[in-house]
C-alpha cells in the first residue's frame, strides 16, 4: 500500500515503511548536491529526516510519521543525485518501523 505526505511517498511492506522522494518534490528542489541524514534513531512526526542542498533550494525534509529509523539511504550521502532518480530503489530516503498504523492509514492515498 502506498500513501503520500510531506511530498514523500510512504510505501508499506509488512511492518516496514519506506519513504521515497516524489517526482513533485524532485521537480521543486532540482539536482541534489549535498545530503546529511539525521543521527536520530527515532523520529516524531515533522522531525527532520535529512537536510539537503539542491540546485533550487536548501531543504529540511520532515518525516510525515513517527517511528524508528531502521535504515537510511547511505549511498545518497556519497552520491546525492540518487535522490533525483525515478527509481524508488535509488531515491528512497529512510525506512521506518514501529509506525502507528492508524496514522499511516490517515495519510492521503498516492
Amino acid at each position: 500500500m502506498k500513501k503520500v505526505a510531506n511530498y514523500l511517498w510512504v510505501e508499506k511492506n509488512g511492518g516496514e515503511y519506506t519513504l521515497i522522494m516524489t517526482p513533485e518534490l524532485q521537480d521543486d528542489i532540482g539536482t541534489v548536491g549535498f545530503v546529511e541524514f539525521t543521527k536520530e534513531k527515532e523520529v516524531e512526526k515533522n522531525d527532520s529526516l535529512l537536510e539537503l542542498e539542491a540546485s533550487k533550494t536548501v531543504l529540511d525534509l520532515a518525516s510525515p510519521l513517527a517511528g524508528k529509523i531502521v535504515a537510511v539511504n547511505d549511498k545518497a550521502t556519497d552520491e546525492p543525485t540518487l535522490l533525483n532518480s525515478a527509481k524508488a530503489e535509488e531515491s528512497w530516503v529512510v525506512k521506518l518501523t514501529d509506525v502507528d498504523e492508524a496514522e499511516f492509514n490517515a495519510l492521503a492515498d498516492a
Partner: protein, 240 residues
Amino acid sequence: MQQYVPKSFEDRFEMYRGLANERPAVKAGREFLDVQDAFLSEYNSKEITDFENIKDKENQIYIWQGDITTLKIEAVVNAANAEMLGCFIPNHNCIDNIIHTKAGLQLRLACATLMKKQGRKEAVGRAKITAAYNLPADYVIHTVGPIVQNNKVSSMKRDLLAKCYTSCLKTADDHNIKSIAFCSISTGVFGYPKEDAAETAVSAVKTYLAENESSIDVVFNVFDEENRKIYENILTEERS
C-alpha cells in the same frame, strides 16, 4: 591609495553602505566599532516609529507601511538567503541588505557564528534569532523563504512559506518576545507572487496564534502601497 570621497552626505552614506555590504564576516577593532555604532545610532534615530504608539487593545494583527529598519518593536523578521550572512551585493535594494547595513557589522558576525556552528546552509522555512545591534528593534529573526520561478507556486512552496511564518513566531514565543514585525517574505528577489504570499502569510499567522493561544502582537510590514492594499483586502475580507 587615495580613495575618492563624495561630497554630499547621501553619496557618502551610499559609499559606506556598499563597503559595509562587501565586508566579509571578520572581526573589527574596537575603534572602528565605536565610530560605526556612534554613526548608526544617530543615523537610525531619525524617523523611528514606536510600535507602542500603533498598538491598541482590540487587535493582535497590524498592517504597517514603512521601512522596517525604522520600526521600534521587539523583533523584526529578515528575509535572508541560504548563506544567512546578509546581502554582499553593494547597495543592493533588498531587505537583507538594509537590515544588515543599519544593524552594523556585528549582525553579520553574529550570523556567521550561528552558521559556523550549524556547519551547512540554512534550509528554507526555519528561523534563527540574533540581537538587532544598532536597529531600533531588540532582535532580528532570520528566515529563508522559498524561491519561486515564473510565478509557479507549488504546494510545497506554499507550505514552506507558511513554515517561515510559523518558525519565526515559535522562535519569538520561545524568547518571550511580545511583538514581531514581518516583512513580506519571498516577495522580493525570490519572486513569490505578492497576493498569494500575503494570503499564506495571514493564514499561517492566524493559525499559529489560534493553535498556540499566543498573545504576541504581529505586524505585517508593507513597503509600498500595492502591498498595503493586498494585506488590507485580505484582512478585511476575513473580518467581514
